[in-house]
Symmetry: C2
Subunit: 251 residues, 2 copies
């Protein structure tokens, strides 16, 4: 799996990927939605090739894999016609069915629906925090309040469920699907004037959950340092995203 | 099931719904996402109470069912804690698992993932056509071109699948999930200056598919007349949506 470890750009030659039946995972190293898929690949120990894509200067050939140019994408090379899946949650569900060890989605249809709805409820958290995380100077002044209000839903839900993980005694799909943003929230301590951190009282359960999830093997395997996340966001804010800093010291 | 047949408004009393274990379907009569759920309820002949909600002047009590105030919502009254499901596609998948006759989602995990991705590909169709459908005077001049380009994906896919329905020889989940907008497209013939209609050559397969789907029992059961759709859109455009005209002649 000695593929190029850099983000492919516009004008790049389409990589000559081996026809070995191994999954092809298309990603951008700092993309939280891509990390969702990466977490499942890691948790289930699924062999895969990683192909990184520059999202600003997209390689022309990438639309052959993902027609709308989105990441993450996962090409199933061992299947007829070698289809490429997109949408992180759809990919996650497919992987969970094809590689059931460990099972991450609930098997009960109702709990599965409720967990998917809870994952959807994370969208307002993401949209509220996005301008703050990305150091946008035009972030609405009430962005952090909106973010906290949206996050309250998850604190309340953890209390209601009464378990260390959203999935129960062990980690599961809700935990993995919302994790990537928790890895990025500490950027705010570095990048905001008020050195923002989650309130230890208001988010007591969620902060315990965060510390617990941080110890998970797949989480550790896919993690990037908060300094790197912060550096990337700064480069993105000035319009020159430095995707390849993800590999600092690794190239 | 003799519930009030009008849209509940702000200030309304929370309806005293019977505790009979029957599903409660919360909807707005002209909402295409609500119709998705209605189509499944009809196709599977699932008993349900219909409760209509005014989306501009939302009843205060509605957040007890749908915390974000969204429709459609489906309350499962026969289940412990009587949870309410939201998000049309999540509700559809739940109903398909609980009421498998007729089965509408593919049972093969890959085909299921591909069908869900195809349903997601309908979002650009919806967002492009929305300003035209809603007679928005500020609709971008290239809205119809964008709409047609997004719709090409579905014409191409029908050709590729080579079957009368997206699901095969009989109607299935993709067909039902995209149908509500096809019921509304003919509004454009009535409401646009150029009396817009889908091009019979460019969308040959899709127009045949439309005529076929229009004959489906569930589609007929949930259908509203194009004149009513057009009238509703006009009322919405002037900022005074007339939800209850859905029941014209039926009240």
């Amino acid at each position: 799996m000695a593929l190029p470890q850099k983000h492919f750009k516009r004008g790049s030659t389409k990589p000559d990927l081996p026809e070995d039946g191994v999954l092809r995972y298309f990603s951008m190293a700092f993309c939280p939605f891509s990390q969702r898929v990466h977490l499942l690949l890691a948790a289930k120990n699924i062999p895969h090739h990683k192909i990184y894509v520059d999202l600003i200067e997209k390689p022309e050939w990438y639309k052959d894999y993902s027609p709308l140019g989105k990441v993450p994408a996962l090409q199933l090379t061992a299947v007829e016609d070698q289809p490429t899946l997109v949408e992180s949650l759809i990919i996650a569900e497919y992987l969970d069915q094809q590689y059931p060890q460990p099972r991450l989605f609930p098997t009960d249809p109702l709990q599965k629906a409720l967990d998917k709805i809870l994952i959807e409820r994370f969208a307002p958290v993401v949209s509220a925090v996005y301008p703050v995380l990305t150091c946008n100077a035009n972030a609405p002044p009430d962005a952090l309040q909106k973010f906290e209000k949206a996050l309250d839903v998850f604190e309340t839900e953890l209390i209601k469920r009464g378990t260390p993980f959203f999935a129960g005694q062990t980690i599961g799909i809700v935990d993995y699907m919302i994790w990537p943003w928790f890895e990025r929230f500490p950027i705010m301590k570095l990048n905001t004037k008020q050195k923002y951190e989650l309130d230890v009282k208001r988010f007591e359960k969620l902060l315990k959950w965060r510390d617990l999830v941080a110890q998970d093997g797949a989480v550790q395997k896919t993690a990037l340092d908060v300094q790197l996340h912060a550096e990337f966001q700064k480069s993105k804010t000035v319009g020159n995203p430095q995707y390849d800093i993800a590999f600092k010291g690794k190239l």
